[in-house]
Amino acid sequence: MNKFTAQLQVSWLRTKMTIWIVLGLIVVSFVADFTINQMFVSNPQQDIAEAVGELREVTGNNQLEIQIPADVENVNVSPANLLLLLLPILGIALPLKTFRPMMNFGDSRRHYFVRLLMIYGFVAVLLALFNSLWFPLDKSGIREYVQTYNIIEVFGWNQFGAIGIFFYQVCFYFFVLTLFNFLFARPKSPVTWIIWAVLIAAIPVGTSIAYLRHYVAEFFIALLFNDSLVLGMGLNLGLSLILIVGAWLFTRHRTF
């Protein structure tokens, strides 16, 4: 064992309960979807048409119409994507639950922080690899039984090929981890509370004012739907870097 594996073990011990619960829920929901889909072979277009028909009867409004694109069929999130719940969970749990145990072993804040980033990198690679390998399975096998979609398609990452799919995911997942890590790097600090408040206020403000909404949308398009692999990855990593610097400023003087 070395210091890195020690921190990895502490991280695992402190989060394994949560990880098992998440995995358990995914399995349960997947099995539920699977059985329901087996029992009722459904057709979304037909379902909607029926629903609209009923609504017309109830309301007496024959002009009522609900339009959905013709190719809608994937109604469930891929189980491999559900696993991405672990990104915010670990981004929050690791700074909250591993700082004290590591300090208790006499570890320095700097070394703890560097190893924490390594663990985030490790998690990002692991989840990206898993989803990249799962994606072909989604397309070829699973969809015959369960209607699923994978974020790889949603964000159009499949345009970059297998390697591109993997790397875009790694960068984006790392960004999500560092974002939550930044928000919980020093939970007992007023500065952190101000950042939380600003962020919570920013969501409704950013989406309700049309002028801002435009920029918010642009930002997310550049971050997630970027048509350039290099730019997309660069933006994710650049933002991660800023968040890492911020988190270090919090951690460097974090009290036990």
Binding site: M1, Q9, V10, L13, N104, G106, R109, F256
Partner: protein, 292 residues
């Protein structure tokens, strides 16, 4: 002798309460020290600052010649906290393996011996241990780390007498072979009376006294007899406590007493006895309070 730890005018406030108030102390190498004070006297706050968990509002802390800046953690130092933070779902064995990588002088053989001495099952999970045995895991790490500066905060809390004895015996045994600087913080002085060489007594965040225990044993006396003779005897000596009953009284005197003084006092019908450390400590703190 080399200084291992230097605390200089360190202060720490919690809100408007002085937890530690301009406190200074030095620890030399190869010495066992006691840090004594009642609960809430500021012991743990001081130790937290030394270990770099929290930061002083003012003052300096230097460990092994290296000044601790805000956020630094001392190297070559093992701090065994009163409430340790080893993962509760870890097995004792895992905790020891993890601790081993953080202390360069770690002795795995000693660690496995101590498991036997303290009757700890390495396969048990931390949460299955009693409060006392959980702190014993910390104590084991403190001993096996062989860190040049090892700090124990209330190491025997929650342990029965037998285990307390075993801990202090193991400490003395290992220290005799591998001398280092050890700081034992406790409010139970009797337990460490023969183990420590020197004590720091703190109250309300300030240092009341810093002395060799043997010197205290030499200097602390309980003198009793007629008030007239007692008055004469204690004149010019430090008196920690005085009590009277009728014509007679007793005084706790902190002063050297020569052979001739002693026989003279006995001629005047005074009785001179030693004072157990725990009593001395109680009188000292009481006096420290009335002077506030």
């Amino acid at each position: 002798m080399n200084t291992v730890l230097e605390v200089k005018n360190v202060s720490k406030m919690y809100g408007r309460v002085d937890a530690v108030n301009s406190l200074s102390l030095d620890l030399a190498e190869h010495t066992i020290y006691g840090l004594l004070g009642r609960n809430g006297a500021g012991k743990t706050t001081l130790l937290h600052m030394i270990a770099g968990g929290i930061f002083p509002d003012s003052g300096e802390i230097t460990v092994h010649g290296k000044r601790l800046n805000k956020g630094d953690v001392p190297t070559q130092c093992c701090y065994v906290r009163e409430n340790n933070h080893y993962p509760k779902n870890a097995r004792v064995r895992d905790v020891l393996q993890m601790a081993a990588v953080f202390y360069p002088n770690w002795d795995a053989k000693l660690a496995s011996q101590l498991l036997g001495i303290f009757k700890l099952n390495p396969r048990k999970k931390m949460r299955q241990l009693s409060r006392g045995m959980e702190s014993m895991v910390g104590n084991m790490i403190g001993l096996a780390s062989r860190a040049p500066l090892t700090i124990f905060d209330e190491p025997v809390l929650g342990l029965d007498v037998l285990m307390r004895e075993r801990f202090y015996r193991a400490l003395i045994e290992d220290y005799a072979e591998y001398p280092r600087t050890i700081l034992l913080s406790t409010h139970l002085i009797d337990e460490i009376a023969t183990v420590v060489e020197k004590v720091f007594i703190i109250e309300s965040g300030s240092l009341l006294m810093e002395e060799d225990v043997e010197h205290i044993r030499e200097y602390a006396h309980l003198v009793s007899g007629l008030n007239s003779a007692l008055d004469e005897f204690v004149a010019g000596k430090k008196v920690l406590h005085r009590e009277g009953y009728g014509n007679a009284g007793m005084a706790i005197v902190y002063h050297g007493i020569t052979e001739s003084e002693r026989s003279q006092a006995e001629q005047h019908g005074l009785m001179i006895e030693g004072v157990p450390l725990q009593k001395f400590f109680a009188y000292l703190i009481e006096e420290g309070q009335t002077h506030e």
